[in-house]
């Protein structure tokens, strides 16, 4: 079994999107949510290959719980555990938190591969990665957004960068050229009519995370 733990639903959908491109076929919905649909840990099991699972932790605080209570008892069945989390404002601290959770779980460390968004080197998060892949000067809604962002940060103190980034990603999705029910970031990869084309995985910015997901599911 190969398991990839992620922090939120947008991460789940990005991983599913990478997997779809990796397989070069329409298999975005192959990962089906299981268990209780509540603000808890949710497993997405691949219906064609049930040895592949994505676990949405719905917040990084659940990492230790998932490792200790869910994965440790079934360790023998698991070949690889991927952890996809945000580097946030302190790369080393975030890395250490993941290390601590792994250590507490007592799962064989050799089974783990970890990746801190945006690119396993720099500070930031998933939104940082998504925005870095866009050519803002050629996207009208993002040009408008820069002025809006300046106004917001001038007028309101202490707005978290992450909140602005999330807002910018939403603006990009919502006002893209061919709007198709894309009110939430999670539907921005593939929606009812297929690939939205909003995110280009062949861009250099995506290379490290695509490589990471391939390593988890193909190793």
């Amino acid at each position: 079994m190969r398991v990839l733990l992620v922090e939120g639903i947008t991460d789940v959908n990005l991983v599913k999107y990478i997997y779809t491109q990796m397989k070069d076929e329409n298999c975005f919905d192959d990962f089906e949510p299981k268990g209780r649909i509540s603000p808890k840990i949710v497993t997405f099991e691949n219906i064609r290959d049930n040895s592949l699972r994505i676990i949405n932790l719905n917040g990084e605080n659940n990492l230790e719980k998932a490792l200790v209570y869910v994965l440790k008892p079934m360790e023998r069945k698991i070949k690889t555990i991927g952890i996809l989390t945000d580097a946030d404002k302190d790369f080393e601290k975030s890395k250490q938190e993941v290390k601590d959770a792994i250590e507490k779980s007592k799962i064989d460390e050799d089974k783990f591969i970890c990746f801190l968004t945006p690119n396993n080197k720099e500070l930031g998060n998933l939104e940082t990665l998504l925005l870095s892949s866009l050519d803002k000067e050629t996207i009208p809604q993002l040009q408008c957004f820069q002025a809006y962002k300046k106004c917001l940060t001038d007028e309101i103190k202490d707005i978290e960068k992450r909140a602005i980034d999330k807002h910018e990603v939403e603006a990009y999705i919502k006002f893209s050229e061919k709007p198709r029910n894309r009110n939430q970031a999670q539907f921005s990869f593939i929606d009812a009519s297929g690939d939205t084309g909003l995110w280009d995985l062949s861009k250099d910015e995506f290379y490290p995370i695509v490589k990471f997901v391939k390593e988890i599911f193909l190793r």
């Binding site: 209780r36 497993t43 997405f44 699972r53 869910v70």
Partner: protein, 329 residues
């Protein structure tokens, strides 16, 4: 209560160990990973008298539909060493030549020409049963007192089981629990018709009807069987194979709540197998709502060499895993 056990060899279970057993133990796993065999191995060691052991063997032969030649083979491969909380009980096939001096002394003069034996031993004593006596067990009444197998109970089974409830004077509680699955049931009583025919007669409220229990759904009969065996076995062990058989998934939550209440009140240790996710989820919800955490989950798996091994989860791990949607069947 059995806290841990070891099985050296019984069917597919070889060098098999279980720790952290609890009051309710839910055993899951794919087909042919030894779920039923695990229950059988436990039940075989739960005898007080040799006749009970033979009755249990008879029940196993019948439920596995074994013919004479199969039974011989079955017995010849038997090597159960069940260590219950450090105290060993063994059931082992031995050829006459392999008997220890002490064992040979016991059979000496009685079974000189017999070659095949089952040797049952515990800390206190040992007993030697020649094969022909085991095979004669085929004609014994099968023991359904603590092991509920996956087959549909007959009218006679249910009437016999219900008679224990009458012996214990637990009819009112029985009816109360039975109404969990069908509030329309107002009365249950055994009836004998002729020499061979006995059954449970069930009275329904609306429309007012009197039916034989077998006229009701399979789930109700299964539940009657479960209730009877549980209420009969206070301070004992009960084993249920494929608990979900015949029971509609919407009733599983209420049934688990009833079971949790009974095992607590009657001080019963329960071993249950299932391959039904809904049954596992229902137990998880019922235990959470009743704040009952004396549950262990055992998932049987096969490793790369096809050896069966258990994945044991204590309650916190069981509930986190089920909630997360990670399949533990």
């Amino acid at each position: 209560m059995i806290k841990n056990l070891e099985i050296n060899g019984y069917k597919g279970l070889i060098d098999f160990k279980l720790d952290d057993l609890n009051q309710i133990n839910i055993i899951s796993g794919k087909n042919n990973v030894g779920k039923t065999a695990l229950l059988e191995a436990i039940s075989l060691t739960q005898y007080h008298k040799i006749i009970e052991f033979r009755q249990e063997l008879t029940r196993i032969f019948e439920s596995r539909d074994l013919r004479l030649a199969d039974i011989n083979m079955f017995l010849q491969t038997m090597d159960i060493v069940l260590s219950i909380n450090g105290k060993k009980r063994t059931i082992k096939y031995k050829n006459g030549d392999d008997l220890s001096d002490e064992e040979a002394q016991q059979v000496d003069g009685r079974y000189l020409s017999i070659e095949d034996f089952l040797v049952l031993s515990s800390i206190e004593n040992f007993s030697i049963i020649p094969f022909f006596e085991v095979l004669e067990g085929k004609y014994l009444k099968k023991n359904k007192k603590k092991f509920i197998d996956s087959s549909k109970p007959t009218n006679i089974d249910l009437t016999n089981l219900y008679s224990y409830i009458q012996d214990l004077g637990k009819q009112d509680r029985f009816l109360e629990y039975l109404q969990i699955i069908d509030k329309n049931i107002t009365r249950i009583e055994p009836q004998v018709r002729g020499k061979e025919q006995s059954f449970l007669r069930i009275t329904l409220k609306n429309p007012k009807q009197s039916l034989i229990s077998s006229e009701l759904g399979e789930g109700t009969n299964r539940y009657i069987e479960i209730l009877s065996v549980l209420l009969k076995n206070s301070n004992g062990i009960v084993l249920i194979d494929e608990i979900e058989n015949g029971i509609h998934y919407t009733k599983l939550y209420d049934i688990w709540k009833a079971i949790i209440e009974i095992v607590q009140k009657e001080n019963i240790q329960l071993f249950v197998t299932t391959h039904d996710l809904e049954s596992i989820e229902a137990l998880n919800r019922a235990s959470e709502d009743m704040q009952f955490d004396k549950i262990s989950s055992i998932t049987l798996e096969r490793d790369d060499d096809n050896i069966i091994y258990p994945v044991i989860r204590k309650y916190s791990s069981f509930t986190a895993t089920v909630d997360s949607g990670m399949d533990i069947r």
